[in-house]
């Protein structure tokens, strides 16, 4: 690997470019809101488990209560976010990242 010898200015040049800003925007624009969303959703669950036990204990059907359904929904949301992120990354992040990586590698090889 010769990364350490790369001219650092190439990175600054890429970093300042529109396409890199686009890539960073697409990445942060997805993962930051998603992180806030799942953390709020999780903390809501924990807080309700501590402070709203009457509500959590409400029976929905048979012996299945709100607490159990809420807990299962945490699993469902985790699986869904992981799946949605992979879709987003494959469609919106990976092609642009490949393009930029190839560009840097060509420039440093030349």
């Amino acid at each position: 690997m010769t990364t350490r010898q790369h001219d650092a200015s190439i990175y600054e040049e890429i970093q300042a470019g529109e396409r890199f800003k686009e890539l960073r925007g697409r990445f942060r624009g997805w993962v930051f809101p998603a992180t806030v969303a799942f953390l709020v959703w999780y903390v809501l669950y924990v807080v309700l488990s501590g402070f709203a036990r009457g509500f959590m204990g409400t029976k929905l059907f048979g012996n299945i209560n709100v607490a159990l359904v809420f807990g299962i929904l945490q699993f469902v949301s985790t699986f869904l976010i992981a799946w949605a992120y992979s879709r987003h990354a494959a469609a919106k992040l990976d092609p642009l990242a490949d393009e930029l990586r190839n560009e840097v590698e060509e420039k440093t090889a030349a």
């Binding site: 999780y42 924990v46 012996n63 945490q74 699986f79 990242a97």
Partner: protein, 536 residues
């Protein structure tokens, strides 16, 4: 045949199999990348299984099933924190870390900082977190083997700890990351198979009617509907407001700690690319998620079919609930022999679980000692690859030996809290340093060092002066009382301290390296110059 005999036979088969793997791995471990990162040649699925094998400790298999069996719903609360935490790793850490680091957590932190102070801090934190975790696992192993194999003498427990410690040393010293990863993969497959089997049998017993199972569990527990609701263990009404804040504090440490645990972070280096790191975390989330859903059935199944009286008769904390359930459900469906076989299988799976986790922890701490402290701090980056790997192997041996000695010393103490403490340190010190490094332009050496030490020290100090160490009947030292911090879990205080210290440390220093920042940002997002997989 007694189940102890069969358990021992199965366990010997597992040990023999893993030793063969270790021998094979040692022959294929030549470079530093082989030793530290398994040649970066594992597939996404393989690493996903290994992530499961590294993460699903005996504490989560036996511990959570036991909490559910005795306290009902609250055990489920614990497992949800353990699962949701993986989203932090998936979205914010895994790929960026794979692209910009090499062997340890500190590689990413030191990228654009002054390497010596940052590697020292990260190395200290890695070793402290890993040893806390290791102690909890090894002391637990001693107690568990006593319960499962009927070895109740003090000497028996000590020999168990020594045996577990020696095996873990052999896996890590000879097998490196390759050997350790395969041990974790085998363990994950065994654990998932065992847990699925018992779950299907339990559900089958209730005609796949979950509500029916829950109803009987609640009835047998003697606690009625409350058994299916939060509040019997964490933040009970008797503990008042402090107990409820403690619950939230625990939840925060669980959800934010995982992505700061060094033995988890080094798993992202074992795959060829960042995309494989993403895939492996996704497999990990699937495997871990399904596992905790199975644990839910195991726990309520044990409450219904074994009953709390029989469980607490064996172990007050309920750690034997899952093996007892295996026996009970086996007997119900296949008669006495079936019960013996299932109990033996689950007991052997529990040992495999312990071994895989302690090996991962020893590897993480010895890698950090060799790569961060020896090669970069003591030798200032002038160690050869060969020297580094030799030091890594020696330090794995030394750390293993220290862990054995400490575990023997601590075996009569209640050290289960050390797992929660490891999560708190990881969330309060390591996570802020990692996130700021990857996402905050202005971040610098002073900020990184402040975040790590402030998170580490505040978590440890708050726990020392909390009821888990003194002043309560369940404390580590129940006969003295020097506690002043009311919560058992420091996270709700120490996590903000870590993030705040990282911020203040940063703004107090003028250090900023624009070109290094450009390099880490471009590299982490595009994969330019990322470490390649070894050619074999």
């Amino acid at each position: 045949m007694k189940h102890e005999t069969l358990s021992t036979i199965l366990f010997v088969v597992f040990v023999a199999g893993t030793l063969v793997i270790t021998f094979w791995a040692s022959r294929n471990t030549k470079t530093a990348a082989d030793y530290y990162a398994g040649g970066r040649s594992f597939s996404g699925l393989q690493n996903g299984l290994a992530i499961g094998g590294d993460y699903m400790s005996a504490a989560s298999f036996l511990g959570i099933a036991g909490i559910i069996a005795l306290s009902g719903y609250d055990g489920f609360l614990y497992s949800i924190g353990f699962l949701v935490a993986w989203l932090v790793a998936l979205l914010l850490v895994a790929e960026l870390m794979r692209n910009s680091g090499k062997f340890t957590m500190a590689d990413v932190l030191a990228f654009r900082m002054r390497p010596r102070p940052v590697r020292t801090a990260a190395g200290v934190s890695t070793i402290v977190v890993s040893i806390f975790y290791l102690l909890a696992q090894m002391v637990g192993a001693g107690a568990l083997v006593g319960l499962l194999l009927g070895v109740h003498s003090e000497a028996g427990k000590i020999w168990t700890i020594i045996a577990v410690g020696l095996l873990m040393i052999v896996y890590v010293v000879f097998g490196g990351m390759k050997g350790t990863t395969w041990v974790q993969i085998v363990k994950a497959v065994l654990l998932m198979t065992g847990a699925t089997l018992i779950t299907l049998l339990v559900l089958g017993k209730y005609g796949f009617n979950l509500s029916g199972l829950l109803g009987e569990a609640a009835e047998k527990s003697g606690k009625g509907a409350a058994f299916l609701e939060p509040g019997l263990k964490y933040g009970t009404e008797a503990q008042g407001i402090a107990g409820k804040i403690d619950l939230i504090s625990l939840g925060l440490a669980l959800v934010l700690g995982t992505a700061g645990l060094p033995h988890i972070l080094i798993r992202f280096y074992t795959v060829p690319t960042a995309r494989d790191a993403r895939k492996s975390v996704q497999w990990g989330i699937g495997i871990i998620g399904v596992f905790y859903l199975l644990t839910l059935v195991l726990g309520f199944g044990a409450a219904a079919l074994v009953g709390s009286k029989a469980i607490t008769a064996q172990d007050k904390a309920g750690n034997t609930a899952a093996p007892q359930l295996a026996k009970a459900v086996g007997e119900l469906i296949f008669g006495e022999v079936g019960g013996t076989i299932l109990l033996a299988v689950i007991a052997a799976v529990a040992f495999a679980t312990i071994l895989a986790v302690v090996a991962g922890l020893t590897l993480a701490s010895s890698s950090s000692f060799a790569h961060d402290l020896y090669a970069h701090v003591f030798k200032r980056g002038n160690a050869t690859e060969r020297q580094e790997v030799v030091v890594a192997r020696i330090s794995a041996f030394v750390i293993g030996a220290v862990a054995i000695a400490l575990s023997i010393f601590a075996q009569s103490l209640n050290v289960a809290f050390l797992v929660a403490l490891a999560f708190a340190v990881a969330a309060s010190g390591n996570l802020p340093a990692i996130l700021y490094s990857l996402f905050w332009k202005r971040f610098n050496t002073s900020g990184a060092v402040s975040a790590i030490y402030a998170g580490l020290v505040s978590s440890v100090v708050l726990v020392i002066f909390s009821p888990v160490v003194s002043g309560a009947p369940t404390s580590m030292f129940p006969d003295t009382d020097f506690h002043w911090f009311p919560l058992s879990n420091p996270g709700i205080v120490s996590i903000p301290i870590g993030f705040l210290a990282g911020y203040i440390g940063t703004v107090l220093s003028k250090e900023f390296n624009a070109s290094k920042y450009a390099e880490i940002e471009v590299r982490s997002l595009t994969g330019v110059g990322a470490e390649k997989a070894a050619e074999h």
